[in-house]
């Protein structure tokens, strides 16, 4: 892919983020005015890099699980035999989206204990709907003449799905995954309230000690990650859209 003018600020942001995570103390001067006197201006309880990596791994795992579940349901719901499942699957995905993640945490902790598992569950549930809805739209908006032609040429149901339906719906599916991942990056911060290791730890610590510098550090790193991942997935979508023949 060629480097466009629009990608220059993103590249700069990436460089800045990597520099900050690798050597946060180099930026201490910037944050000192925001930290209460006598406290370190940079969060040092856990290295920021460790927290960022854990944060990303958690969101990646949740997005992957949500993608598999949502895409599987969308495929099932668009098969002739699955038509009856559609309202049920849709209701479930809606419930997942509307149920506050904090409430999921509160309900999950007594069962799974503190840590990563309840956060993962909350993120998966919260991430289902965008992927399910976009996958459904992508699969349902295909030209019926195309599917008819595929059937008429002797493709089996499976060949139609893999060779025609999924490649053509892929740009839509990816946009759902992107939305889900970006929402998940922000939402994962609340996992720190139940002792999951995420960048939320920095923000929560800042809130508890009245240290604005920590809140800002945590918030900025999460935003930068979200912007960069959004950009990366958008680029992937553009490639998929070109492959799907939607240009020219």
């Amino acid at each position: 892919m060629s480097v466009s003018r629009a990608s220059i600020p993103k590249a700069a942001l990436l460089v800045l983020l990597v520099a900050f995570l690798a050597a946060p103390d180099a930026f201490a001067g910037l944050f000192r005015p925001l930290a209460p006197a006598g406290t370190p201006p940079i969060y040092a309880q856990t290295p920021l890099l460790t927290l960022a990596v854990n944060h990303l791994l958690l969101v990646a795992a949740a997005t992957l699980a949500a993608s598999l579940l949502a895409l599987g349901s969308a495929i099932a719901a668009t098969r002739p035999a699955g038509r009856d499942v559609l309202p049920f699957a849709r209701a479930l995905a809606n419930l997942g989206q509307t149920f506050p993640p904090v409430a999921v945490l509160a309900l999950a902790v007594p069962i799974f204990g503190f840590g990563t598992v309840p956060t993962l569950i909350a993120l998966v549930l919260y991430g289902l709907l965008p992927i399910f809805e976009t996958a459904l739209t992508g699969l349902e908006s295909l030209d019926p003449a195309l599917l008819e032609a595929a059937r008429g040429m002797g493709m089996t149901d499976r060949q139609r799905l893999v060779r025609v339906e999924l490649p053509l719906a892929l740009p839509m599916i990816l946009s759902g995954i992107r939305l889900s991942a970006v929402i998940g990056l922000a939402t994962a911060t609340i996992g720190s309230t139940v002792a999951a290791s995420t960048l939320g730890e920095v923000i929560v610590s800042g809130l508890l000690t009245g240290n604005t510098a920590y809140v800002l550090q945590g918030g900025l790193v999460v935003s930068a990650l979200a912007i960069l991942i959004d950009a990366g997935l958008r680029a992937l979508e553009a490639v998929a859209a070109r492959r799907a023949g939607s240009h020219a």
């Binding site: 008819e148 002797g154 493709m155 023949g245």
Partner: protein, 310 residues
């Protein structure tokens, strides 16, 4: 050879196709004509089991289609539809190669077949092979659609309004191409259309469908000469019968010895076009030539007689 024996299809109590019996001889073109909702498309789709009959039997090459798995059956029968149905994410070559690939042809054989078909449809292979359908004109897309249907050398080709989206000039060319290709490969073709003139032009025999019933099945001359019902007559457009008949016949058998003035018409010209030329140039007789040699002449009186009710 395709045989339909007392075939019906009923959906939710509504009869779409009612007790149709038909035989389509190998190497011929049957055109199925009717208004929308007449059941003509369903009749076509019954042959490759895109829909199943409620009653009756369909045999292709002597085998009851119900004894063949649908996917395998369809791979052996070419299928082309209106609006071509090309895969937008696949190149021209990949689109044409779909069925050969499903049949596990090796890569070189598929590539050779793709180039052969592109050349057959007057599309320079090196230029078109790697294009996506979106980069083609409507006429080109339609040709690729037919090429794709022919890719695995099927003995039978089913076509549902294949030329419906084309403008009149490209449509005429596409019809001529189809006739030429049918002659070359000896393919048995069933072609559905709502356009009676297309049906007359392409069909060795014509089947007329009305509200699910087969109301007449005949060769073009017989159909124009003796429409079985008012519906068939209405489809033909009564005022044009004489000219439709003349359009079906060529001047070759009408040539008589003798001189005639002016530029010759070519052997193979339809009676209708010859008569038009005679009227236009005010010549009571026209010379007829083949490959630059004058065969003789046709007179206007002979031409006119061809429009009489057979």
């Amino acid at each position: 050879m395709i045989e339909l024996m007392h075939v019906s299809r009923v959906v939710d109590g509504r009869t779409i196709v009612a007790d149709v019996s038909l035989q389509i001889a190998s190497g011929t073109i049957l055109t199925v004509v009717g208004t929308s909702g007449s059941g003509k498309t369903t009749l076509l789709r019954l042959i490759n089991r895109l829909v199943e009959p409620s009653a009756g039997t369909i045999r292709v090459a002597g085998r009851d289609v119900r004894t063949v798995p649908p996917d395998a059956l369809r791979r052996g029968i070419g299928y082309a539809i209106q609006g071509h149905g090309l895969f937008p994410h696949r190149t021209v070559a990949e689109n044409i190669g779909v069925v050969p690939k499903l049949l596990s042809w090796d890569r070189n054989r598929i590539a050779a077949r793709v180039d052969e078909l592109l050349a057959l449809f007057r599309l320079e292979p090196a230029l078109y092979r790697d294009r996506l359908p979106a980069a083609l004109s409507g006429g080109e897309q339609q040709r690729i659609g037919v090429a794709r249907a022919l890719a695995a050398e099927p003995p039978i080709l089913l076509m549902d309004e294949p030329f419906g989206a084309l403008d009149p000039i490209i449509r005429g060319q596409a019809q001529d191409d189809l006739k030429a290709i049918q002659k070359r490969y000896g393919t048995t073709i069933v072609l559905v259309t709502h356009d009676m003139n297309e049906a007359l032009r392409l069909g060795d025999r014509i089947a007329v469908m009305d509200r699910g019933r087969l109301v007449q099945e005949a060769d073009p001359t017989a159909l124009v000469g003796a429409p079985a019902t008012d519906f068939v007559g209405a489809l033909l457009g009564r005022g044009d019968r004489a000219f439709q008949l003349m359009a079906l016949r060529i001047v070759d058998d009408l040539v008589e010895p003798g001189p005639a003035p002016g530029a010759p018409i070519m052997a193979g010209t339809s009676v209708r076009d010859a008569l038009a030329e005679s009227l236009w140039s005010q010549r009571p007789a026209l010379p007829v030539s083949r490959d630059g040699v004058i065969l003789g002449r046709v007179t206007r009186a002979t031409l006119e007689a061809q429009g009489a009710c057979p």
